[in-house]
């Protein structure tokens, strides 16, 4: 079991990296990656929300959607769950852990509309619904997908900080060079698909 979880973690972080391989959550990846510090903040917020969302959506799937035979409503139900979850977590943090609330700041509510979170919830179901111990596997996969997101966005923020001060041709300045850099990073991560266990 432990070995299995390890493999799931590794594949979620590197081989199936959400941003660079599955191309989910590109919006925050490009939007909040100008500075390493803010990228870290966004990354940790995503880890947190993805872990919570994985657990909660698994419960919704198992105890509401499957018994009533309405799996086709998965998307809308999961969006509902994620939105409520983020709102709830925001309120909870503001009251009980104001330090964390302040450091996550605006990124927490932004995650409501992050497709990577919905993606991880749906992937969890398709991947693990038929295997044993699916709850713990979903939880680990969700958390590690968040870690992969953090890794990608922090790496990319480092690249962009360097780009700021380098001499770039005028027509490539700004978004063009950013997208090129992102694609190069993505190609690098594609290399992990050769990793076999």
């Amino acid at each position: 079991m432990l070995k299995e979880l390890l493999i799931i973690s590794l594949s979620a972080i590197l081989i199936e990296n959400f941003v660079l391989v599955k191309f989910l959550g590109i919006c925050p990846f490009l939007g909040v990656s100008k500075k390493v510090n803010t990228a870290m903040g966004m990354g940790f917020a995503v880890i947190f929300v993805m872990a919570c969302a994985s657990a909660l959506t698994w419960l919704v799937q198992q105890y509401i959607l499957v018994p009533f035979n309405i799996e086709y409503l998965q998307t809308i139900a999961f969006i509902l769950v994620i939105a409520v979850l983020v709102q709830f977590v925001e309120m909870f943090l503001q009251k009980n852990i104001p330090v964390l609330y302040k450091s996550l700041g605006i990124y927490l509510p932004l995650i409501t509309t992050n497709c990577a979170v919905l993606g991880v919830a749906i992937l969890n179901i398709t991947k693990f619904s038929a295997v044993s111990g699916s709850f713990i596997k979903s939880l680990v996969y969700g958390t590690m997908a968040g870690v992969g997101f953090t890794l990608a966005i922090v790496l990319f923020a480092g690249v962009r900080e360097r780009l700021e001060s380098s001499d770039i041709p005028k027509f490539l300045k700004g978004m063009p060079i950013t997208l090129i850099a992102a694609s190069l990073l993505s190609i690098a991560f594609m290399g992990f698909s050769g990793l076999k266990f």
Partner: protein, 301 residues
Amino acid sequence: MDILLPVLAIGGMGLIFGAILAVASKIFAVDIDERVPQIVEVLPGANCGGCGFAGCNAYADAVVKGEAAVNCCPVGGEIAAEKIAYIMGVTAEKSVKQAARVLCQGSLENTDTRYEYDGPMDCLTADRLGGGPKSCAYGCMGLGSCTSVCKFGAIEVKDGVAVVDEEKCTACGACVNICPKHVIAILPVTSKVTVKCSSKDKGKKTRTVCKTGCIGCGICAKNCPKEAITVENNVASINSELCVSCGICAAKCPQKCIISTRVIKKAAVPNSTDDNRDDDAPPKIQVAKKANKISGSLSNN
């Protein structure tokens, strides 16, 4: 009837989640001091950081916590200070409006250039090239770093020297911080007389590089009735707390580097003693006005 189950399931989920959030908003309600948003509303909202805090919100927070005075916002000035004081229930200490002033008259007419500068229009870059293109090492280079950093459009370069529009200036200090030559100072607008030179060169050198540079002769200091002027490092400086803006120094300065805005306005009247009398009158009126305002805000409370 097949539609009923999904509708009930999703609708029920929505209802339950809504209820949970409603309850949670009560349980996790954070007591935000209602004065914070009130103060934020009064503040200009430029988030310039002129008060020394991270932005208008941070300043409002600090005021409510008692960590900051009510009159720290240079942008909002006296009006904002009074409103904040009213919200906080205290009396505002009077704060004199301040504005940035460029202490240099090194226009293209008054001074020369040592070399032709063809780099980016940025004072910091030019300063690294042997201290800038102007022949005076202490003067304004006129490349407009202050103009680009000013959020209020209050400073512009005219004839090779930066000029501040005191009406628009909010004394946030952004230009003071960016100027590599340190020729911009924040001064109260009530002090009308300024030494418009920052050159620490000896008199002879100053005279060769600029037509209106301060040579440190000390005539102004000798003639000042209030002893508000000191000459240090070959440049005169006026203590704005002692200065009564009489304009005698401006009249006596052989280099014409002390500028009195009051004298310029009344250039037709050469007699400086007349100016003196005029100068004494306005401050009294201002004091009276301020007293009225303060008593007014007290009665509001």
